[in-house]
């Protein structure tokens, strides 16, 4: 190949990378651009503070932010012990076959589309929750958190299992030589040395939980209130965006969704920074 063509191809590679990297910047700028009117009017502060009440002219997204935080937090709260338990089961406790089976099951779960989770939940989980609470429609924070936990569980489990498996073998051998049982190995050796990986997995799952749209759109009830309890219906930022897109586009309501987008973007950046600090990316690149 002639050197000039080679140079061209190599320039092409560079251009592709620049294009890919700049997509992120474009997304940020568009969000900013479209929400500028709100910044200019100085309305941004009340926007973040107030509730959503079109009749009074308030288009605040505070209830939605609370909704996102609460639903995501509960999902993580539910998913973490399950995640740790299952990972422990896969890599430490069970005989090889069961561990492999469980791992395959979790990998299978990564392929389940979100919309299928929500679809089934509407017909299975929602009536159940309604009967348990004896009030409400069944579409509430709890239902959404449970399904969300199910969604992010594979992320946590696969991450944790990898973290557990990457504990240096000589640590484990040393522990065994000292007479440790599998449980003791888990508690005293594996978890302490893999804690970085564990936290990374949780942070990643948190990102996924906050960013998910369909589960909260279809199962959390989309009410405009600030949820005060598990049985209250709530709306997340993501569901809010989806709902509003389906309506007008010149009104302040419309511009509000871009601010939601901005909030989500900032959140993503924070997660990425947190993961960097934890060296997640170092670990991933070494693998």
């Amino acid at each position: 190949m002639r050197p000039s063509i080679e140079k061209l191809v190599e320039k092409g590679f560079l251009l592709s990378t620049l294009l890919s990297a700049s997509i992120t910047i474009f997304i940020l700028s568009f969000m900013f651009l479209f929400s500028l009117p709100l910044f200019k009017g100085g309305k941004i502060v009340e926007f973040l503070r107030l509730g959503w009440n079109p009749y009074e002219g308030n288009f605040g997204v505070f209830p939605m932010m609370v909704g996102t935080v609460i639903i995501a937090s509960f999902a993580i709260l539910i998913a973490t012990p399950f995640g740790i338990g299952c990972s422990a089961l896969i890599s430490v406790f069970s005989q090889r076959r069961f561990g492999r089976f469980l791992r395959k099951l979790v990998e299978f779960m990564t392929g389940i589309p979100t919309v299928v989770y929500s679809f089934v939940a509407i017909f299975l989980l929602v009536p159940l929750i309604r009967e348990i609470f004896q009030k409400g429609t069944g579409m509430c924070v709890l239902s959404a958190s449970i399904m969300l936990a199910l969604l992010i569980l594979p992320t946590i489990v696969l991450f944790l299992t990898d973290a557990f498996n990457s504990v240096p073998k000589n640590y484990l051998n040393a522990a065994e030589a000292l007479g440790a049982t599998p449980v003791q190995k888990l508690i005293y050796v594996i978890i302490p040395s893999a804690w970085k990986g564990i936290i990374s997995g949780l942070v990643l799952a948190a990102g996924r939980a906050v960013g998910d749209t369909l589960i909260s759109l279809m199962i959390a009830g989309d009410a405009l209130q600030i949820p005060k309890g598990l049985s209250d219906a709530a709306r997340t930022l993501t569901a809010h965006i989806a709902l509003i897109i389906a309506s007008d586009y010149e009104s302040p309501e419309f511009k509000s969704i871009f601010v939601c987008g901005l909030i989500l973007f900032v959140f993503t950046m924070l997660i990425v920074l947190a993961l960097r600090l934890l060296g997640y990316f170092e670990i991933l690149r070494e693998r």
């Binding site: 190949m1 050197p3 080679e6 190599e10 092409g12 590679f13 560079l14 592709s16 990378t17 294009l19 890919s20 990297a21 700049s22 997509i23 992120t24 474009f26 997304i27 969000m31 651009l33 012990p81 399950f82 338990g85 299952c86 089961l89 406790f93 469980l102 099951l105 990998e107 299978f108 990564t110 392929g111 389940i112 589309p113 979100t114 919309v115 299928v116 989770y117 929500s118 679809f119 089934v120 299975l124 049982t181 599998p182 508690i187 960013g211 749209t213 369909l214 279809m218 993501t238 965006i241 897109i245 969704i257 989500l264 973007f265 993503t268 990425v272 993961l275 960097r276 991933l284 690149r285």
Partner: protein, 293 residues
């Protein structure tokens, strides 16, 4: 920590495992129980004859065929955008990138990977408004915008797998070609990439799976409840995940609901198949590395 707590932890782990298996089992059996009865040709083709529909002679108005066609076309177009740019970026980052810029690129791409899908959809929507206002009155959320947005969504998968697979190659493989006189580019194109094909393809398959199942992006960029087969890139279209979403709240009869379950099974089947394929390829690669050094 005493014996009792340790036993407790063991039991706890087993319980979580069993609950998880139970939950998934219930989910799947419910889906299959409700959906399998609906799986027949009329679910897909409605009242039109299959041959007429496939040859595009007649439109299908009450079956899944337009949605299935829409999803397939969407996947193909998105991948066409994503593969060249993704693989090229991966190669650049792995082989050519200046150490000074690498952290910046990595950061931007990691943020892109973590961005919620609805934000990517919002971005696509914003672009269509922008183009509508400044370029042409005829542009609105459509097939083209959806496929571009989906490409943005899956780009990080392809870039990451390409880049990682190239950097993780054993030193000997990386340098043999160069030692024999090949130029850098020749080395990459004719030796490294072919060697790594399984990894790269596993990344592409993952991207395909993501395109098939994503709902949030397409919801904001052009998918509608009824549109037939898209005849131009600027037209609206249907897709399977949106069909499921739409049916879940808007069903008018038990038959329509059953179609929703049937569609869920189809989508589940497609996605599970793709993700499993991707994992098998990844494992094949891992085995090869384990036996190499």
């Amino acid at each position: 920590m005493n014996r009792l707590t340790e036993y407790g932890i063991t039991i706890f782990s087993w319980i979580t495992g069993i609950i998880l298996i139970g939950a998934i089992g219930v989910l799947l059996s419910f889906l299959l129980y409700k959906g399998i009865p609906a799986l027949n040709p009329s679910m897909i083709f409605g009242e039109t004859r299959a041959l007429d529909a496939l040859l595009l002679r007649k439109a299908v108005v009450d079956g899944l065929f337009p949605a299935i066609a829409g999803t397939i076309l969407l996947i193909i177009t998105s991948i066409i955008w994503a593969i060249p740019i993704g693989v090229a970026s991966g190669i650049y980052l792995a082989e050519y990138c200046n150490v000074r810029w690498k952290p910046l690129f990595n950061f931007l791409l990691d943020v892109l990977a973590g961005i919620p899908s609805i934000l990517v959809g919002l971005f696509g929507f914003a672009i269509s408004i922008f183009l509508h206002r400044h370029l042409s009155e005829h542009i609105y959320p459509c097939f083209l915008i959806s496929s571009l947005a989906l490409a943005c969504l899956v780009l990080p998968y392809i870039i990451r797998t390409t880049e990682q697979s190239l950097t993780n190659l054993p030193f000997s493989i990386k340098t043999t070609g160069l030692a024999l006189g090949a130029s850098r580019l020749q080395n990459i194109l004719f030796i490294l990439i072919p060697y790594n094909l399984s990894s790269i393809i596993s990344g592409i398959i993952l991207a395909i799976g993501r395109c098939a199942e994503d709902t949030a992006v397409i919801m904001l960029t052009g998918v509608v409840a009824m549109a037939g087969i898209p005849t131009s890139v600027l037209s609206q279209y249907e897709a399977i995940p949106f069909y499921i979403f739409y049916i879940s709240s808007d069903y008018n009869s038990q038959e329509e609901l059953m179609k929703g379950f049937g569609a869920s099974i189809i989508l589940l089947g497609i996605c599970v198949f793709l993700f499993t394929l991707s994992n098998i390829l990844k494992r094949k690669v891992a085995i090869r590395f384990a036996t190499h050094t």
